[in-house]
């Protein structure tokens, strides 16, 4: 009996979602395997750059899944989710910086190169503890989580919602962008944090480490999808949708929508932070550019294109749009932004439920066809 709630969402998962989660878990193993064990000239070989690229996409997909939880299911359109991602990334970056030790250009055992360069005499207090992996892991959760909690507490309690909320989330990421650009913030200014050497003692450039990071990203993505499925299938998930569709109405049933929103908002920020922390070791750098408002808007586009309010939609969207971006920036880099804009307009006008939403609508309509006459006739007879 105890395990029951655990199985309800699995049973409730659509076939598509189950297959999809299976693919991700298989990819977690298969992609690194095909990269490391298959000869480079074999057709099945996956080259290093492809592992790195797909690993990046997995992190973007996690980010989109986190946005979907608040936007798709609870109607909170965040235009600042990139900030939580970047904060998670910075936390990981700080740990990686402190692993460099004497291997830096200046050979200082404690201070990262940029601090030596800026004449720091000792480590700022907020860098303490980041030499420990466990401390960093804790901070990946606490830093974005705390910011989101405080921000959400203030915003939701004052009943700020809709466009106003979107605007202040955008302002939040912009403020952080400006702050992190400053050298005296102590996070490396506009160069950010880079030149990482190793993670938990493993060379960060090695194939094995990269394979592990890739697999971890895939597993976390699968976990996030499972969490989305679990939450949305629960009674709380129904309350989320109710809050999205009729926030005021829920109050008259005794609910406190500000608490409901604060909970998912904070959870979503933590998920975004984890995505950022897995992203940074795979790309080898974190800089203030990650806070750029445009980044946060892109996350919204991935989610919209894939299908907000669907479980796997954001993943499809993140891969589809970023895949397109990789191809386009190879062919005609100057056109990408126009293509992205056009894609967003097209989605908004013609596919308001995104790729997955539109697909599943047609699927359900097609499946409902044969039985259609029955449920319609019954109530009419009753009236």
């Amino acid at each position: 009996m105890k395990t029951k709630p655990f199985f309800i969402p699995l049973a409730g998962l659509g076939v598509g979602t189950r297959i999809f989660m299976g693919i991700i878990i298989v990819a977690a193993v298969l992609v690194p395997l095909l990269n490391m064990t298959v000869a480079a000239d074999h057709v099945l070989h996956i080259p290093d750059y492809m592992v790195a690229l797909l690993g990046k996409f997995l992190c973007f997909a996690m980010l989109a899944v986190s946005l979907n939880l608040v936007w798709g299911y609870c109607g909170i359109l965040s235009l600042g989710h990139g900030a939580f991602f970047a904060l998670g990334g910075y936390v990981m970056g700080m740990y990686l910086m402190r692993q460099i030790g004497t291997r830096g250009v200046y050979g200082n055992p404690v201070l990262p190169d940029f601090m030596v360069f800026l004449n720091y005499s000792e480590l700022p207090w907020f860098w303490l503890g980041f030499d420990q992996f466990w401390f960093m892991a804790l901070m990946v959760i606490l830093v974005p989580g705390t910011l989101a909690f405080v921000f959400g507490w203030l915003a939701f309690r004052s009943r700020v919602s809709g466009v106003y909320l979107s605007i202040i989330t955008q302002a939040m990421t912009y403020a952080l962008l400006l702050a992190f650009f400053r050298n005296d913030m102590g996070f490396g200014g506009n160069n950010g944090l880079t030149d990482f050497k190793d993670i938990l003692g493993f060379n960060i450039q090695s194939r094995e480490t990269r394979a592990t990071l890739f697999a971890l990203s895939a597993l976390f993505l699968a976990l996030f999808l499972f969490m989305t499925a679990f939450i949305t299938a629960s009674r709380f998930g129904k309350l989320l949708v109710a809050t999205r569709d009729g926030e005021d109405r829920t109050r008259f049933l005794g609910y406190r929508p500000e608490r409901v929103k604060l909970f998912v908002w904070t959870l979503s920020a933590v998920m975004a932070g984890i995505a950022g922390a897995l992203y940074v070791p795979q790309v080898g750098i974190i800089n203030p550019g990650e806070f750029a408002p445009a980044n946060s808007i892109e996350i919204v586009i991935w989610t919209a294109v894939g299908g907000r309010g669907t479980i796997i939609g954001p993943v499809i969207g993140a891969f589809f749009v970023n895949g397109g971006k990789s191809l386009f920036t190879g062919w005609f880099p100057e056109f990408w932004l126009f293509v992205l804009g056009a894609l967003f307009v097209f989605t908004t006008l013609y596919l308001p439920n995104g790729i997955v939403g539109t697909f599943s609508e047609h699927w359900h309509r097609w499946r409902a066809k044969p039985a259609e006459t029955l449920p319609d006739a019954a109530p009419q007879a009753a009236e």
Partner: protein
Amino acid sequence: MPPKLTSSMLYLDDVNVSFDGFKAINGLSLILEPGEMRAIIGPNGAGKTTMMDIITGKTKPDIGEVYFNGNIDVTKHDESAIATMGIGRKFQKPTVFENHTVEDNLLLAMSGTQTIKSMLFGSRSKNEQENIDQILATTRLTARRNDQAASLSHGQKQWLEIGMLLAQDPKLLLVDEPVAGMTDAETDETARLLREIARNHAVIVVEHDMDFVRNLDVKVTCLHEGSVLAEGSLDVVSNDQRVIDVYLGR
């Protein structure tokens, strides 16, 4: 617990609300006894819905006292707190959760006092399921339980919202125009249902349909321009010349 200030279920005394200088509620006083059902009538704009807004915490009175269940000063609490303390409401325009199934609407209505944790990890109890089945049967929505609320007819939405009130099981029910958009048969059925509910709940029903009000067979209050114009049995109220002038005669 502070001593009971009044023995009534609901006590409004000299309540005033104005919107941008317009007095929507003007010295309104009203007392509802425990277990009583009251029908409220009155012309459009009389302040019937605004009165419900005040009782449920949506609108704060400028001056005046509002006490619920003897000693709860409603004006000091917000909508969620008031709902949890036992005041339920059906809105004039039916407001159900359109994207949820009929059954899920009822489930949400009965879970308002749960914590986030229990809503995340708890499963539906046998009791709750029986309660839902019972309410579905009472509101004649059993055949539609798995359909989206959006697909219901107007009358069925009204019934679903009454069902949500039953699921919420408050001490006091405020029911705003429950039979708008219903057929005569449905209207009769609703009157029967409300009389049934009134056996163990206090109820305030706002309605323009006089046949329906007669059918309820309870004390009637007529509101006009934000205050009580007449009060008593339907016969007394409907024969009151002022009521005829401002409302019934038109």
